[in-house]
């Protein structure tokens, strides 16, 4: 174990990047950026989606090779041609979604690829378990190393992922949005872990979109914008507004752009929607021009209800009317025909079709319109794709570019553009701004208000209270698969929402009351 380490100002960086350039076909992801990581300090890397943060992480972990520039460890130039080389140079990463193996034990997951060996070259299970125990203790995780991973909950799996990152003797720890999927309690534990790592003298690169978090745990900051280095400095010398300005290159109005809505007649009426396991007795009405927020804890069944409305899962009971007509929706294709579209939370798997170019993603549900008797018309497709991607301020090299090369926020814009191009009546947005930066977030919010003002009905599933309160005309709170309350006007307060979501609010009105005024 390392001795207690006291960071001093003026200490030399343990790892530095100088003039890093990385280009992909048609995109310059990084145009000569620099970064310095100091021992015993947390450096926050701040930037919008597409600023080049993920690319820098991949360069540091040996997945990408920079086209130009140098990587210095202790002032010596090194190359990181493989993930293994990065590990040997002392760089490790805790990713947003680390791939773990359900059928292996905790210890096997932690040491996969570098398990301790005995003298015959076989895996030394006892040593592996002992060292796994030591690492788990070091991060305060009370887990049995011999347990299979599939028997653990999500939070414990996350701890295993962290333990795995720390199982190599790292001097530089990269944390890429480590709190994105965590509860409050787990986030507090993660902060403790960061403090422990700092005390051990490790240099930490912390990537996050949450400013409160950055101000709480970071010592230094570095801002990237559009693949360029903007500036760096000490946290104590900077204000939030300055960072935001540097990130977006303009000042962002933090106030939600919700406009007074003109709410019209009912568009979607859901009555008694039930599912054998996921939700029960869901009844609500959505009006023209309305933004209806769905709030609840993770696992409250909100996404499941939305996916049933979109025809992914079938409700066992209940009816759905659109503009007064009963519609039976058994597939997404039928939902789209009925005018309901769904922007999923799981962008990577369910949203964009990676491998297809941007314009083909946008026109995918509108092929009947852009083609003639089944034959594609590329001019029409490009026209449609151009119209909607420009409305959403997409950043891309060309419309012929693979969506996989876009940042998360821009992929989200492609998915939204795809649905708007179908001219829907109802658009369901499932955690539309999760994991995207402030700039893209504001663009999505702005656009949502715009759509509602044009008479589209919007359902927004969100777990962020400021977003729900800032954007919604009315909020439905779900808990354990049921509607736990409905709030509008003055009753739409953070306290009411949270009480209903956790089950404290016994006095919540039954569904149906408190309809939008």
């Amino acid at each position: 174990m390392q001795a207690e380490y006291r960071p001093q100002d003026g200490a030399a960086p343990v790892l530095s990047l100088r003039g890093i350039v990385k280009t992909f076909p048609g995109v310059r992801a990084l145009g000569g950026v620099q970064l310095d990581l100091y021992p015993g300090q947390v450096t926050a890397l701040i930037g919008e989606n597409g600023a080049g943060k993920s690319t820098i992480v991949k360069i540091l972990t040996g997945i990408y090779q920079p086209d130009e520039g140098e990587i210095l460890v202790d002032g010596r130039r090194v190359a990181l041609p493989t993930a293994q080389a990065a590990g040997e140079a002392g760089v490790t990463a805790i990713h947003q979604e680390t791939v773990l193996f359900d059928e292996l034990t905790v210890a096997e997951n932690i040491f996969i690829g570098h398990a301790p060996r005995n003298r015959w070259g076989l895996i030394d299970r006892r040593a592996m378990r002992g060292r796994a125990r030591a690492i788990l203790d070091g991060i305060g995780a009370d887990l049995n190393p011999a347990v299979r991973l599939r028997d653990l909950g999500i939070a414990s799996k996350h701890l295993v992922a962290i333990a795995r990152a720390l199982s190599i003797d790292a001097r530089v720890v990269i944390m890429d949005e480590p709190t994105a999927a965590l509860s409050h309690k787990e986030i507090a534990e993660l902060y403790d872990l960061v403090e422990k790592l700092k005390a051990q003298g490790k240099a930490i690169l912390f990537i996050s979109h949450k400013f409160d978090e950055i101000f709480r745990i970071a010592d230094r900051w570095t801002v990237f914008r559009d693949g360029q280095f903007v500036d760096q400095g000490l946290m104590q010398d900077v204000a939030e507004a300055d960072l935001v300005r540097m990130m977006v290159g303009r000042s962002v109005d933090q106030i939600y752009p919700k406009r007074p809505a003109r709410i019209g007649e009912p568009v979607l009426t859901v009555a008694g929607y039930s599912h054998p396991t996921e939700f029960a007795d869901i009844t609500f009405t959505l009006h023209r021009g309305e933004i209806l927020g769905f709030y609840g804890l993770v696992g409250a069944g909100r996404s499941e209800v939305m996916q049933a409305l979109f025809g992914i899962t079938r409700p066992s009971k209940g009816a759905c009317r659109i503009e007064g007509k009963v519609r039976v929706i058994r597939s997404p294709a039928q939902a789209v025909e009925a005018g309901i579209v769904y922007v999923p939370e799981d962008r990577g798997r369910q949203g964009a079709v990676k491998g297809l170019p941007i314009f083909q993603n946008v026109t995918l549900p509108s092929l009947a319109r852009t083609s003639r008797v089944g034959f594609l018309r590329l001019t029409e497709e490009f026209a449609l794709a151009r119209e909607y991607t420009q409305r959403l301020d997409l950043r891309a090299a060309s419309l012929d570019q693979d969506v996989a090369l876009l940042s998360g926020g821009n992929q989200q814009k492609v998915v939204i553009a795809k649905w708007l191009a179908t001219r829907p009546r109802v658009i369901i947005l499932d955690e539309p701004t999760k994991g995207i930066d402030i700039g893209s977030k504001a663009a999505v919010h702005d656009f949502m208000s715009e759509l509602a003002a044009q008479g589209l009905s919007v359902i927004m599933v969100s777990s962020e209270i400021p977003e729900v309160l800032g954007m919604s005309d009315r909020v439905i709170v779900m808990r354990e698969g049921r509607i736990a309350g409905e709030f509008a006007g003055e009753r739409m307060t953070p306290e009411n929402l949270v009480r209903a979501a956790v089950g404290l609010d016994r006095s919540a009105p039954p569904p149906g009351e408190g309809e939008a005024a």
């Binding site: 294709a333 990676k354 491998g355 995918l364 083609s371 594609l376 891309a396 419309l399 012929d400």
Partner: protein, 330 residues
Amino acid sequence: MTTAINGRHIPDRLTSPAARALKSWEGLLLVVAVAIFILNALASPYFLDPWNLSDASFNFTEKAMIAFAMAMLIVAGEIDLSVGAIIALVSTVMGLAMTLGTPTPVLVLLGLGTGLLCGAFNGLLVAGFGLPSIVVTIGTMSLFRGISYIVLGDGAFTGYPESFAWFGQGYVFWVITVELVIFALAALVFGVLLHRTSLGRMVYAIGNNATAARFSGIRVERVRFILFLLTGLMSGIAAICLTSRLGSTRPSIAAGFELEVVTIVVLGGVSILGGSGSVLGVVLAALVMGLVTFGLGLLNVPGIVMSIVTGALLIAVIAIPRLWAMARRR
């Protein structure tokens, strides 16, 4: 819209499709095909004889017909290993009908119908019940050919009417065989289908990410069913040509066809994982395979060595892009 004013202009394309094609797999295949053609011409004085070349085209025409439909299936992330067995069953059905004195047009319709039915059966199992296509078609491979064996035993159907011989032995013009014309038409139809229609676009979307395709409102199961139907139909057409050319039906007809068809498809640059590939690549791959087999035949290379050569060719051709990419990363 305020956002429309802020929206940046994004160009449609940066590289033209033509520029892309030059650097593509298809470009490489074309070079390989030309090289083999020249090598063959130098190696044997009989190679350049038009009638020899015409005869040699039978090496690939029947397999290539199926390969076009198979290419669409594989782009969509599915596979059909029962195509050889479908040929056996189709040929057996036609043979049975022939012994009852059925006229040629009806034989052809029966062949097409049986092919479609077999495809529909595969499609139902895969798209309807959600079973993995590799398992389903390994099963139907035994099933279809098994029926053929039960009907025929050690025997064979011979004595097809003379008019039936046109499909496999006839010429449309000079050295241009009927099969070559069917091959060319099939290439055209499937080229348009995969690259110029909504169905083709959906096939690519499903092959790249079936979940996202479903979440985009595509009727994924319907598309999969259609693709199996098309593969069944093309196997039916190939069965008519092959039976007509051989003039007889044995239960072992077209044994091992499925692997050669898949070889052509993969050689043609279609990713075995789905999501990419082109019909042009499959056409070129069929020509390369045909030229290699013919060239080796002219040099009196025995069949077993030939299969070693085609196997090596397939592995080499799949390994080249990998090695190329690794070399470029250095």
